[in-house]
């Protein structure tokens, strides 16, 4: 009697055709997107919108659906994550990094090159804010689409994990509603286009005297409320919410930068550097940025109080330098451009001053911790590998120590990929948070 085993696990191969179809449609869409850079779009922007964005989205969704079909059992989906060129600084990864970086360079410093392509969003722009589209409208529309589509992927991949599902829905919601729809509708209503989901010092100019002036001089009725909201969120809501839930309530549930990192950035999360030296650089850089923005804001207010009598033009030029170096080059160009090289959280980890504030609060005034479960850690390293913030989680877990790090954004992936159920994100009592379980102190 002789048998040849039946190929029972050919799911992946079975759907390769569907994946090819999805990627082909995506590629055609992308090709049309490139065509949109030319003046061709002028003739029929709506058609070009569907040919470029429409096809890309459809193609992407087909691809993710095929991935879902080929992995019918829910669970951690990391097979081959280290073999993909795109997510391991291979040729495709580098190409993508150059592409992302280049796009941001065009966006910030050569917006005229995007004039044609932004026309494909004219129809949407007219519908929500009654204005033609421009490079910033194009940017926020693409950003929101990327969050939504890659968010769908994130949910499919993590469908066994309710924490990830709810969290991903949350970031998609906040990006779509608070960072896209509301600001644009406010413009339609002749109010300032205001982001209720961003606060000082991340959105640094919200507490600049010039912004107060602008809000007060604007025709809208919500201006005073907006300034009140900014101040209230920055100084009252941030400490209170962080005390109860840790930094995560913002960084991986609300923030738009976090939204992109958690969706588009998810395939790159293992690229963050876990070394001790990287942590050292991180602390110096992020706290320097925080110090710079605090100083800058203070100088601007002093200057405004003395009507320029003390500092002259200094605070204004400081503000310009900060805007260029931190606001554009670091947060934008490097922040997203380096996704395929350093993971999705480059800006959040090394630069974001709001993350620095939240981090200090999380470390010293919060109930949040990642609890380590007794002595169950096997030092396999999955938690550290997939920490997008570059925290060496296993260094804590293998000693039976709770993980309390200012940089932790509470994405929950370490707890998810742990094959031994060692980690749990939770909000517990502040007392004893740092205490080591003596018995497991290893």
């Amino acid at each position: 009697m002789s048998t040849i085993p039946i190929n029972l696990q050919s799911h992946t191969e079975n759907y390769i055709g569907l994946k090819k179809i999805g990627l082909s449609i995506f590629s055609i869409g992308f090709l049309f997107f490139l065509i949109c850079f030319t003046s061709a779009t002028k003739f029929n922007p709506i058609l070009f919108f569907f040919l470029s964005i429409g096809l890309s989205v459809i193609g992407g969704l087909i691809f993710f659906y095929a991935q879902y079909l080929s992995n019918p059992i829910a669970g951690v989906k990391k097979n081959g994550a280290m073999f993909m060129s795109v997510a391991n600084k291979g040729l495709i990864g580098w190409m993508l990094a150059v592409f992302f970086t280049g796009f941001y360079v065009l966006l910030y410093w050569f917006p005229e090159t995007l004039a044609n392509v932004s026309m494909i969003f004219d129809w949407l722009s007219y519908n929500i804010r009654n204005l033609p589209s421009d490079q910033w409208f194009l940017y926020s529309a693409l950003y929101t689409i990327a969050v939504a589509i890659m968010g769908v992927r994130m949910i499919i991949h993590n469908r066994h994990n309710k924490y990830q599902i709810i969290r991903t829905i949350s970031v998609i919601f906040f990006q779509l509603v608070f960072a896209f729809i509301i600001p644009n509708i406010l413009i339609l209503l002749n109010e300032p286009g205001y982001y209720f989901s961003y606060f000082w010092p991340l959105k640094y100019d919200y507490l600049f005297p010039s912004n107060l002036e602008y809000l007060l001089n604007s025709k809208g009725h919500l201006a005073v409320f907006m300034f009140f909201w900014s101040t209230m969120m920055s100084f009252i809501a941030v400490p209170i919410l962080t005390y109860y839930f840790g930094k995560r309530w913002y960084c991986s549930w609300v923030c738009g930068c976090g939204a992109l990192a958690e969706t588009l950035g998810d395939p790159f999360r293992h690229l963050s550097n876990k070394k001790l030296t990287a942590w050292k650089y991180e602390r110096w850089i992020i706290h320097s940025v925080l110090a710079a923005i605090v100083l800058l804001t203070a100088l601007l207010w002093i200057n405004s109080y003395y009507k320029g009598g003390v500092l002259g033009e200094f605070s204004l030029s400081f503000s310009k330098v900060y805007g260029f170096v931190i606001g554009a080059a670091f947060a934008g160009v490097a922040g997203v451009g380096f996704y395929p090289l350093m993971g999705g959280r480059v800006w959040c980890r090394f630069g974001c001053p709001l993350a620095a504030v939240l981090g200090i609060l999380q470390k010293y005034f919060s109930r949040f911790r990642i609890t380590t479960n007794g002595a169950q850690c096997i030092s396999c390293g999955n938690c550290s590998t997939y920490c997008e913030m570059g925290i060496d989680v296993k260094a804590y877990a293998q000693r039976g120590q709770n993980v309390i790090r200012s940089s932790c954004v509470g994405c929950g992936v370490c707890a998810e990929v742990c094959p031994r159920g060692v980690l749990k994100l939770e909000n517990g009592p502040v007392k004893g948070r740092y205490e080591l379980n003596e018995e497991y102190l290893r």
Binding site: M1, L8, Q9, S10, G75, C380, G381, N382, A415, E426
Partner: protein, 442 residues
Amino acid sequence: MENIVIIGNGITGITAARHIRKLSDNNITVISSESKYFYSRTALMYLYMGHEKFENIKPYEDWFWEKNRIDLIQDYVTNIDIENKKVNLAGGLVVSYDKLIIATGSKPNKFGWKGQDLAGVQGLYSIQDLDLMENNTKNICNAVIVGGGLIGIEMAEMLCSRNIPVTFLVRESSYWNSILPDEESQIINDHMRAHGIDLKLSTGLKEIISDDNGKVKAVITDKDEEIKCNFVGLTAGVSPNIDIVKNTEVETGRGIIVNEFFETNVSNVYAAGDCAEIKADDDSKNRIEQLWYTGRMHGEALAQTICGRKIKYERGILFNSAKFLDIEYQTYGLVNLKIPDEKNFYWESDDRMHSIRIVYKDDGVIGFNLLGIRFRHEVCKRWIIDKKNIEYVLENLGEANFDPEFFKQYENKVIELYNIQNPGKNLTLKKKRGLFKILRAV
């Protein structure tokens, strides 16, 4: 100051080295032929599956060893010269010791099957084995795995991740049934099959057949079925690796015989971890403990003894964990030992991805066995030590729950089942999940 030489850089040897450093200023040398740096053996599978790279599975960064003055030598120990207290290495180096620790771990069992040394037939234990497996499984059509333990299912999962069809021969009538109780074992049988693994229960290996080039081409089972394959994984358990002390006066049985201080019959020679066979003071059977956790505990206890704080190794409440494809497994205390007066309370979810077993006696709980649900180590341990009554445990089950936030909680269903099975009982859940809820209730 003494020279401590440790042969073997697995979890036992390294834990011993680290703790000796914590406790003393002795010279520490760790010798391994496998790899210079300590890595997590349990994580080897993740390299093959592309979840991690070798860098990720090293529990400590490379600078750690120099900083802690632990000398690492990558070489093969040819023999131990007990009389002169020296260790001879294949590279010609001779290392003298004052105290010698042998922590050489295990090696895969081979039971003299015909064809067991053919090309394409291998076990999985070391990094070299993994490299071999990488080569042996390139472009193959079918694989057969022999042996129904943890390494077997891990190897099956590894092959599945690369879409290589697997036939899994398990001699017992259900997977890992010596450790897993019937119901849990059945869940894992079905789960493997859902993943496309061709599981053949009550089936052993008779012989492995070679092609013309000395490479495996098929196996014949003990039911005389021939299964074509290009790869055979032999995972029928491991045995202590004690070759190094053959031809010395160190006493061996199945492993190196040691007392509860890990002392061998030769003074200043110690053995711990997988390779040790522990002879207890009482008349109980000698124990060989081959878990990651026991290895770590051995190393820790031995370090104390070496540094003059002689302490007896006590294993404490047993615990272990594993992951069977997508189903996590944790166990605490005594399970499936069929102790005469034990009782079992068992619950499983409708989708058969989660189960809870509580083993108890009239005077309290003695064990927990969990699939797809995470429990708190400390809580389970405390309940077992305090001999908490089964009903107390059930009513407070939320205290033990360690699943991520928002995960479905089954406690009420579990209690409902208990009430149905025990007419007249009307237990209700007192403690819900969450640290605060637990503390408030205390």
